[in-house]
């Protein structure tokens, strides 16, 4: 199922794409590109991101860029992270191995968690909200409302 990990012939592709993407990120280097590729408009341009983009748009967090949550805030960590994630996204999209279930991986969850804490530091100062592993264990709707009926989040692709 997971071509990226199990298909050995995928390896050269992966390296090429990684190199290409990292190259773009470094040579353009402009804060502009960096910011643009953080936004809902960019991420949502991919069809497979439509559900996330829609639910995000309807949420109280709508004004945030996707990567306010989905990339490390610290630039040194953000660059390689974006390159790696971007490569994976493009790789899956172009090679047609988009999984049925796009699931937040461990790394995504940790990155997001750090960002929740970063923004909401004031809320978590007086009382420890780290009673659970993730903020979203309580704030289950943030921001993609995963418990809503599918028809209100998603539809088949044309």
């Amino acid at each position: 199922m997971n071509a990226l990990r199990s298909n050995p012939t995928g390896r050269p592709w992966r390296i090429m794409l990684l190199a290409a993407l990292a190259g773009v990120a470094i040579t353009v280097g402009a804060a502009l590109a960096m910011t643009a590729t953080d936004q809902a408009l960019f991420c949502g341009s991919c069809h497979s991101m439509a559900e996330a983009a829609l639910t995000h748009k309807r949420s109280p967090h709508a004004k945030l860029a996707c990567n306010e949550c989905h990339a490390p805030h610290n630039l040194a960590a953000k660059l390689p992270f974006k390159a790696k994630e971007g490569t994976r996204d493009i790789y899956s999209t172009t090679l047609g191995t988009i999984p049925d279930l796009i699931h937040p991986g461990e790394e995504t969850k940790d990155v997001v968690q750090a960002n929740c804490r970063r923004c909401h530091v004031a809320s978590t100062m007086t009382v420890s909200m780290e009673t659970k592993k993730y903020c979203t264990d309580c704030h289950r709707h943030v921001p993609h409302t995963p418990k809503l009926p599918i028809a209100r989040r998603s539809a088949a692709d044309v």
């Binding site: 829609l54 809503l148 209100r152």
Partner: protein
Amino acid sequence: SEPSEPMTPTYKTKLSAEEMKNSAFKAEFPLQYETYLRNNESQIMTEYGGSVPYNKHDNVNPLPEGYKHAQPYLKNLWLGYPFSYEYRAARGHTYAVKDILHIDRLNNYSEKAGLPSTCWNCKTPKMMEWVKENGDAFWAKDFHEFRQKLDVDDHTIGCANCHEPQTMELRLYSEPLKDYLKSQNKEFKNLSRNEKRALVCGQCHVEYYFQDKEFGAAKKPVFPWANGFDPEDMFEYYKTHGNTTTKGFEGNFVDWVHPVSKTPMLKAQHPEYETWINGVHGSAGVTCADCHMSYTRLDGKKKMSTHHWTSPLKDPDLRACRQCHTDKTPDYLRQRVLFTQNKVWEQLMVAQDISVKAHEAIRMAAEYTGPKPADYDDLMIEARQMCRKGQFFWDLISAENSVGFHNPTKALNTLAQSQQYSQKAVDVAIRAAAFTTAKDLDGDIKKIVPPILKHSRELQMDPAHMATHKWFKYLPVTPKAPRVWDGQTRLVPPPAPAAAPAS
């Protein structure tokens, strides 16, 4: 681009508005069609569900004939009713026509099927054609009349049952569901997309009955929902929607009379929709399609609804569930389903046993010849009413295909009620027999009334078989008759046309 509200994609096909053949849809929708063909998978089991059509009463033999989680008393409880001849676990939609053509519930040893054409209702899109041609006269026609009028693959449950062929919009083909919506002043096309994603299944996965002629077109299928979807609501409904004249049951709808206890019975069938509707998921708006038609990417790119309707637990990854339960592992979710199913199964077994005991208690009271209490007749009516109710409540959960998962609390509460009503039937029957039968009814029910493992239309013609169980003596041995139908094949020549009646 800005994300848009989720909408089913729209289509403009080259198909005719009357298209019924499944294969006709293949060219335009190769991916949906490919998943549709996966309904042919008929091997994989889960703990309680899955797709092997084993005999649902046979907990003795291994798969594919029996299964560990079978209910041994089914043939006893449905004695005298076609379901006692054969009842198997459901499998994929692509088998619907094949399976109905071979099921022993229909009389394949006679020119008369014993059941009306209504049986076709939930097996084929051809229904639309047949109802249009025959009007309400269709329902009461003999089932056999239409045996050869369809193709087993091309006309089994398929695209046209749920989609308008030219636009692929969801639609209803089902007459009883249309009638119900009309009675609620609702129109399918004005309902939300989410409601439609459950109602298309609610065309078939529902409790139904065949209308008595006094109430409209004879044998027309009707959904007994006027009072609501709960067991008590449907039971109340049946009290006033039939033509029975039996004392104490006047005006009741009755599916058949149990030959052992002479109780006017109800049969419940697959009430998935009614069970789901106020369950944990149903009330949260999570629809059948969310779990049984989750999105998949067949070409690795495009998202589409899988058209392989089956147990979502057959997928090791439980992807259907984890669209919503993103924070849970497949193993965790599976365990939670089992946490409910194990308990429901346990209570189902108990309810079944007491239901059998109720029939036996009533039989003994009916045959009791000693001095009777003054209110004997009333007691017998009360005992039979409780027996009817207890068994109907049991059957609503037994016939429901999720072993309680679609609505855990309703399932368990209904089974507890079933046990109470059946126990009440036992108590009242013992009272009617002036307590003389208490002793014989005490003890292990499996010994008092053993489960019937084998029974069929053919076996009922065999006096030796009919001597193997004490309850069989309440059934007639039927005359030996050759098999007339094997699927779509006639095995004996058709009878000479009846001479035109002299006029």
